[in-house]
Symmetry: D4
């Protein structure tokens, strides 16, 4: 795994992460953590499809010019944010349904995934911020050479942790 991790202070963010409410940050920050671990710089903003729609629009116009190539949008309940983002960009949009209502996030999952043809949202599991990051990394890796190796190293790591302690418990 000899890839040299690019100094993260020099690089520009490749991933723009939006979330609908400050209270979602503990879940959403896990996406940024995974991306950082894979050497991918990201930026995280609290923006609402309903309260600050024009701020969403401004951000989606500006971000690609600064180098953002993938968006991650997180929202609960009626969960319109990912769809609103997908309607205003042609970049890939990953949606993370959040479980902050009483229906275990099933409502947010359906509101995120069921987009009309032409405006897809790449949906991950409820509260699946980590996998949103891994999916962003896989998408970026088809273009950015080093990321694929990072992903392979990370996966090998996870497998090792599974295999090592695993003696059959006979009883």
């Amino acid at each position: 795994m000899g890839t040299k991790k690019p100094s993260s202070t020099e690089t520009k963010p490749l991933v723009g992460i939006l979330t609908g409410s400050p209270s979602d940050l503990p879940v959403v920050e896990k996406a940024q953590e995974v991306l950082a671990g894979l050497g991918i710089r990201s930026e995280l903003l609290v923006l609402s499809a309903h309260r600050t729609p024009e701020r969403v629009t401004q951000y989606l116009e500006a971000a690609p010019k600064r180098g953002v190539e993938v968006f991650i949008a997180c929202a609960g309940m009626a969960a319109h944010l990912a769809g609103a983002v997908a309607a205003q960009t042609l970049l890939p949009v990953i949606g993370v349904p959040l479980s902050n209502g009483g229906l275990a996030g099933l409502d947010a999952l359906l509101a995120t995934v069921q987009m009309p043809p032409g405006i897809p949202v790449a949906t991950v599991a409820v509260d699946g911020a980590k996998n949103a990051a891994y999916l962003a990394a896989r998408i970026l890796a088809i273009k950015h050479a080093g990321i694929s190796e990072k992903l392979a190293a990370d996966l090998a790591d996870q497998r090792k942790r599974y295999d090592e302690p695993n003696k059959p418990r006979v009883r």
Copy 2:
């Protein structure tokens, strides 16, 4: 029932009805039919929160100036339209979830009703275009004197149809 119905060709629309897809029209037109029956003029447009968001914005700015006082927004599946409308106006917004997906409209119901505080959508039943119209009429009636009488007459009519043929079937 002496109220004189205002000639509908002279009046301006009081209700703006938006629906996400031309295929929804058979359901949505029932709202317009009920409103016409109550002497309330309305306009119906096909506009999509995802495909034509700027057209939605333009319409929501123009319509109140022409006299529209209540919006009805109809959409299925992820069903973002009513919420997008409610986020861009301060007029009352009635949402009609449509059952055009496989989940009997339960997905659209949740995506329509679960709005964040400050941006309410007055939700009616799945495919409930008729009741959206009746609700619009009740809202308008607190301001426009004649509508209340129309509503009372309509209700009396419906009750009569219930009562008349209703002899107990004894067996």
Copy 3:
């Protein structure tokens, strides 16, 4: 924002809020709080569609004469209250399904929203007392001039709170 808030002790209640059980009050009182913040006077009563139906009927006859123009009805589980109110008045009725059963309020949502044609209930989210108040305010605002400005000021306030602290977290 120059509107002068009418002294709330002088005005009569414009909104009548009913709830099915004293144990719902902590949720339901949020509606009254939001209305007060918008300068709209309201009255809140515990009345049950099943235990005190004749009291409900008496209240619905008396309230409009004292100036009430919108009703908010809150109930959980079988949640018949909003429907019973809507069947006995022609004023707009807002229904708040409560989550006091084990099904996260989905049962109450369906029992509130699925009314027969002609007897609509403007349903908001489960436990959505705040949005019931905002919806009542939007309805009243089409008639009462000052309320619209209050709503606009409140919304601007909420947006500001969203925008201010929101520096992108780059990592």
Copy 4:
């Protein structure tokens, strides 16, 4: 099974069956058919909790005086009828949720069964008009001697139909 079936033209109805809409009659009439087969006279009316509430109240006051001892109430969607009946009588009330909405009657089942303490509805399966009749018969049988024998004969009949043709299909 020597009980002499009382001539049904002479007896007074023991069961009052209410249903919310004329379109429900094909389902609801099965209850009356089962009751007739058990020699129990019944009367069936179309009455709506929302459209004709005062007619419901009048009926519930008059029926017991004419000899009705059990009510069966059938309704779909928000399904308030059985609850409204149970709130206005102390006789046993059997509720039949109907599947005339898109949710296979699950909505009506929940709206029928989840009544507050003190106002019970004896709920049977969705569209379960037959079992509503059998339940009414079991209830009446604790008081009226002949019904129990009719029930036993009917059950024996059904069992025989199960047993007769039932040779194991060996293959």
Copy 5:
């Protein structure tokens, strides 16, 4: 309410309550409490449709001879007990679905209510032991004169508690 409550030590149980597991007793005992409050004597046993089916059969044969006229059967998850009881008696059987699984009792509700024609279970709400008792009382009241008055007094009591403290909260 001058009815003289029959001394409960002299009377025989009119209601037989069965429950599938000792851990259900805190919920199920509420049925017995309500019945006692209405002057109706009952007996409560832990019997399982799956573990002790022959004990269930023995009990169902013996109980009616000792005067039991209504059964209440409580069970969670697959919830077969009420159905098994209804299949072995012609007395009215009330089923109480319990919420002791992870699905809020919806599984138990469906397993209790969906019986085949001829074998009805009078189902009440999930964990609705109180209403099972009130339903048993209503059923017994059509035969036993004093119970109806007890029910009326109890209901009047509950209504009074609703009405007394209920001054409108104006704000």
Copy 6:
């Protein structure tokens, strides 16, 4: 695959298949067909947990003496049959939930699978009569030598049908 298929007319049934209603036979017969294809003799009976419980008991006592080693029980809606069988035998019981209600068999699935500890039902998919047969075959194969080879041949067959026509469709 040189195993010699035992002449099915000579062998005794190894699998006893029970189903709750004659109307289920078209679905249930598929189990018998799969078993016959694997050279396993079976017998199929219509028996009801509720209508003919004593017949179920008699059968479960007699069948093992004639050589039956696995039971398959099929039922819809409240779906008590498989559980009732599992409570009266120590042989493996496979449950097939049927979709003959309005809830797509989800109700029957839950009523079949959620058995108390000690009384397991090996549940397959809704209407999964074929897989019930394959599961029975796998269970019998740990004891009866030839069945394992039959299963392997059948699987190889199915794989071949998958592989043969499968040229990538490039477009």
Copy 7:
């Protein structure tokens, strides 16, 4: 119950238990406990269908050679493990859906039970590790003489615990 329990240190495991994550062990170990109580030796491994698929394949090839005759596979959420095991063996596979997501395990139940024809998974209740063990024991008992007696003794034990303390609570 005079069967001599085989010394568990001498015997080889008959049951192979796989689970998708170390965090599932507290639930899964109950299966091993029940099996040990029935004198059946088992081995328990943490293996993932997604992270260590080749380890799963290796294990499934090796285990039958060492004497394993039944597999138990436990997994939550997307819950692919039991299906992956069933696709690579012809031995009986028991699936235990785990409730480690937010949907009470209903997701895992469906992902475990709904296998294509020819690849059955014998599914037990959500978190039903105990019943998975009892089911494995019933399957093994058709071949291994002593196990059936152990099962009978265990069941008798459980019944006794039900019967003993069970005096009717009369009130």
Copy 8:
């Protein structure tokens, strides 16, 4: 929109589409149609996670060497295919849940989306083959210059079709 569409016969497939059963082809072929319309070459194979797992593995190793950069995997019911693919590649995997069971595809949606961390599946709506193609195109567009323009042209086209016929229906 002057981009010159690359001759599709010269290019190699960029997208590999897998589906679990030949009967899914009518739904799945829509993905290939959309991709062709965007000038993106794809290949479509029927491969099963359960019946032909080794064929899946072979394909996933070979395809990237021939130029495939994104996979689309379609499956219904237990729906393991997309997860199995994601576990064996580091390329982006798009999952299409199919509605070929009785639960409207909700089961397949959950089985597709709920993957463990590190193995993401970019899930689209039930039967959402079109959006799977659009999502693949968005992903490829971050690397392949011409695709972005194709997407923009396609979107503009769709919007035009929305706008043109859309005169307000005033009534």
